[in-house]
């Protein structure tokens, strides 16, 4: 009986301490200024042997979906039909580890696929200039209170990212697109992740404010793949994505996780990645150690109360385009 009392007492003290710790951590983080989260996940490589790039994107897709970003807020671009590829020995599946879990369940929503993954469409998504009948699922409808996560994977070189083995997205294009987004008030904060070879060069021209960029390798380095599945016969994931995902799965289990962006950026050290993770901080005003990972990778639905009156202009009343029937 005495033991029981002791255990109860210890657990109570532990609980109080934990709450205190949580309070302290809450004070420690800077308050987020966003109300909604968006993500653009792009796999730019075609062909079966680039299986791992599709697996990269799908793994990240499931991570952010687990943390609450809905399908409607995720724009996913996959350049090759890997799950139903005729070379796939396990039709309708994509794995990111040998003997892992299938990433291609019936909950996956691909917005751009195959030949529609082009530089033009990627820039259209970022800047929001579409044909008027493009459905909402294919648009990035972010606003000045959105935190946007942009993840690019594929084959890259110094200052460019290859799309589909035919086109290139240069770092200048990417910089201009993000500057256009900034001028159109299309984001509050942005986190750009590039997992390609020589990927540091991709964010060289992103000078827009409140953008944090990271890359899997420095400009003179290559990025490497991680796991091979001998049954499928190809590499199934890249090193950078594998280790950062590992971090996400172990340390960011729920939306209230106290992992910071600094932890995320440190989650793939040189010994594991075999390439140096590059970070560009000068355009990001906050200290990454004081920003939660879930500010970008989760969707907390933070509500702000408005005190003042708001007058809507007549632009809201304009009817959508209809065809005279």
């Amino acid at each position: 009986m005495r033991w029981c009392w002791l255990i109860l007492a210890i657990s109570t003290v532990e609980g109080i301490l934990q709450t205190g710790l949580q309070l302290k951590i809450d004070e420690f983080f800077e308050s987020p200024g966003h109300t909604n989260n968006w993500a653009v996940l792009v796999c730019t490589s075609r062909f079966w042997f680039n299986y791992r790039h599709v697996a990269n994107v799908l793994s990240l897709y499931h991570s952010i979906k687990r943390l609450g970003i809905p399908d409607s807020n995720i724009i996913m671009m996959l350049a090759e039909d890997i799950p139903c590829n005729s070379r796939n020995p396990k039709p309708g599946t994509v794995f990111n580890a040998p003997g892992g879990v299938n990433l291609y369940g019936s909950d996956v929503e691909v917005d751009y696929r195959g030949n529609e993954v082009t530089v033009e469409n990627f820039i259209r998504v970022l800047t929001g200039r579409h044909h008027e009948s493009t459905s909402r699922s294919r648009r990035l409808l972010s606003d000045h209170q959105s935190n946007v996560l942009v993840y690019l994977t594929g084959h890259g070189g110094d200052s460019f990212l290859k799309f589909q083995d035919a086109q290139e997205l240069t770092n200048v294009d990417l910089g201009y697109a993000i500057q256009t987004m900034f001028e159109d008030n299309r984001y509050h904060e942005m986190f750009v992740i590039v997992d390609t070879c020589r990927s540091e060069s991709m964010y060289e021209y992103i000078n827009s404010p409140r953008v944090l960029s990271t890359s899997s390798s420095l400009t003179h380095e290559e990025s490497y793949s991680y796991d091979i599945d001998h049954e499928i016969g190809v590499f199934v994931i890249d090193r950078y994505t594998h280790f950062t995902l590992d971090f996400m799965n172990q340390n960011v289990k729920a939306l209230n996780s106290s992992a910071s962006l600094k932890d995320y950026l440190d989650s793939c050290p040189l010994a594991q990645c075999l390439s140096t993770v590059g970070v560009r901080r000068d355009t990001y005003p906050k200290d990454p150690a004081k920003v939660r990972v879930t500010d970008f990778f989760g969707s907390a639905r933070i509500l702000h109360y408005i005190q003042e009156d708001i007058v809507f202009d007549d632009a809201w009343l304009v009817e959508p385009v209809t065809y005279q029937l």
């Binding site: 062909f47 039909d81 396990k90 309708g92 691909v110 044909h131 009948s133 110094d158 209809t322 065809y323």
Partner: protein
């Protein structure tokens, strides 16, 4: 039990008041080639031709699409795999060739039809996670061959259709398609397991909306269909025994309460020995079908699974007799510029068959209409010219529309007919090549529509099974179509590769150097001017700059410095100064 009755009365009440209905059925049959075919049909009918603003069973996405664009009929089918009509027989309807097929019939003013079509393609593309945008305008044609659907008024309709032979079909397309159904989890839909579907020999999925009229009242009928062809299911004892679980890797789970009828029909094969006891056995067109209502399958004895056993073990060396009618296409020619398109139509029946042949050729296949030939070899291997009528031809316009050919051919009994054209391949612009240009481009499959049906022994129209029990004879409304295979055409492709570019660059540099150095070293130079041009101060400066650049280039090459790295160095220098 009580809640079931409550639900039934509730749903019954709703159905009686607005007449929307939902029926689901699965038909499993064994083909003469011993493959097993599963056909899912989900039929939703609307209250009237006025859709919305409240939608109960009819999917809102499609309802709004119809209303906004003035569409009377809409069909979308995506297919994976090839239906070998010489092996399996005529394909189950509705069918399409490999890839995606989309067609719409619009009413309203003619001048906005193209805009509306583009808008429909764009919207469906987003709604079905597809990649159909390249259909407009280059792959869009006007169908001359009217399909099905009856219309309340004799309205003038404008038809638009497009095929994309390369369109993939995968789990991401199945998910939005499944969301159109009133029951997304329970009922027959629970059998559709993506891993089994995409590992099958042939799989197609799609929907068809058209108006239907009876006694002065009209409504929209939406038929969602999924077809799966399974490979010969051989068990250990070499018998073709199967169960729902062996096909779909899962049993049926749950009853769809919104469905007025939910049944599994199993075609009774002559070698069938044993199976779960059906609720009823019906006869349609002389063929027997066992009927299993979903509630019964979900009962304690079967637990969502039904099985069938056969008496004989399968004969793997069995030679199947040739099927009644088949069509296949091949590509001839010996270089990358010209080519020959051959379509072989075989009629193995002892009677004449009139078929409507249709072929859509993209604009980059510049075919010569005057080389069009239709020749038949009859049973005595003699060449005969068949009777060809009702020819329709619309030529291609570069980058705007494909060529469309249609003709009615009377196939003699026991004959093999060959339709052929010569063509040239267009040289595309740089940006028009697909990302993997060396793979080639696809030509849509040729289609034949049968004027007189060939019996498959299966109820091809869901209307046949609607009146269960008393429908001994049933003539399906849809025309029977047979598709050939899509063709992969290797295109004349410029060499996009890096070595080629290097060769071009080096070649240019060498020719420039050679052009200057060779005359200089072989010709005798006699000065005709007192002042040589080489002595000009500007020329000296220019030569100096060139020398510095060359030295710089050599240095960069030696130290492996890229142009971007050099740019960064220069930028660093400049920013250092200011």
């Amino acid at each position: 039990m009580f809640w079931k009755i409550l639900l039934l009365t509730l749903f019954g009440g709703i159905l009686a008041s607005n007449e929307e209905s939902y029926v689901e059925e699965l038909l499993i049959s064994r083909l003469p080639s011993d493959h097993h075919l599963a056909q899912f049909r989900f039929i939703i009918t609307s209250r009237s031709l006025e859709l919305g603003p409240n939608y109960e069973l009819f999917p809102r996405v499609l309802g709004q699409l119809l209303q906004a664009h003035g569409i009377q009929e809409l069909e979308y089918i995506a297919t994976q795999g090839v239906w070998h009509s010489d092996h399996y027989g005529p394909p189950p309807q509705p069918a399409s060739s490999t890839g995606a097929f989309l067609s719409a019939k619009f009413d309203g003013p003619s001048n906005t039809v193209d805009d509306r079509w583009l808008s429909v393609v764009n919207s469906l593309n987003g709604a079905f996670c597809a990649s159909l945008l390249s259909m407009v305008p280059a792959e869009t044609y006007k169908q001359k061959n009217e399909r099905k659907g009856d219309y309340p008024k004799a309205k003038k309709l404008f038809s638009r259709a497009g095929t994309l032979p390369r369109e993939a079909l995968c789990t991401e397309n199945l998910t939005p398609w499944r969301k159109l159904l009133p029951c997304k989890q329970n009922g027959l839909i629970s059998l559709l397991n993506p891993h089994k579907l995409y590992g099958s020999l042939f799989h197609s999925m799609g929907f068809h909306i058209h108006p239907e009229c009876k006694d002065n009242s009209c409504w929209y009928r939406l038929e969602l269909s999924a077809i799966v062809l399974f490979d010969v299911p051989i068990s250990e004892n070499r018998r073709l025994d199967w169960s729902l679980k062996s096909f779909f890797d899962r049993p049926i789970s749950g009853v769809c309460n919104a469905a007025t009828r939910s049944t599994v029909l199993v075609h009774q094969h002559e070698e069938q020995a044993d199976s779960d006891k059906p609720a009823d056995v019906i006869t349609i067109n002389g063929q027997q079908f066992a009927v299993y209502p979903t509630e019964q399958i979900l009962g304690e004895k079967t637990e969502g699974n039904i099985f069938v056993r056969y008496t004989k073990s399968v004969d793997l060396h069995k030679k199947n007799p040739p099927r009644a009618l088949s069509i296949s296409s091949t590509l001839g020619g010996k270089d990358t510029f010209s080519g020959l398109l051959l379509t072989t139509i075989k009629n193995n029946e002892n009677e004449k068959h009139t078929v409507v042949y249709e072929q859509v050729l993209p604009w980059w296949v510049r075919f010569h209409y005057h080389t069009k030939q239709v020749l038949c070899h009859d049973s005595k291997q003699e060449i005969v010219k068949p009777y060809v009528a009702n020819r329709v031809f619309s030529g291609a316009i570069d980058r705007k529309r494909p060529a469309y050919i249609q003709m009615e051919i009377e196939l003699p009994a026991n004959s093999k007919c060959i339709v052929s054209y010569n063509f040239e391949r267009a040289f595309l612009r740089m940006a028009e090549y697909p990302p993997d240009a060396n793979h080639g481009l696809y030509i849509p499959a040729a289609t034949i529509t049968l004027m007189k049906r060939i019996s498959t022994g299966l109820p091809e129209d869901s209307r046949c099974t609607e009146r269960l029990g008393n429908s001994s004879e049933c003539e399906p409304r849809a025309k029977q179509m047979v598709f050939s295979n899509v063709l992969l055409v290797p295109m004349p492709v410029p060499d996009f590769s890096m070595p080629f570019n290097v060769i071009c660059l080096v070649g240019t540099a060498v020719s420039l150097c050679f052009g200057a150095v060779h005359p200089f070293s072989t010709r005798i130079l006699v000065p005709i001017n007192e002042k040589l041009p080489g002595q000009s101060i500007w020329r000296t400066i220019f030569r100096g700059i060139l020398l510095v650049l060359m030295a710089g280039a050599c240095y960069m090459e030696y130290n492996n410095i890229s142009l971007n790295a050099l740019r960064r160095e220069i930028e660093k220098l400049l920013s250092f100064q200011f």
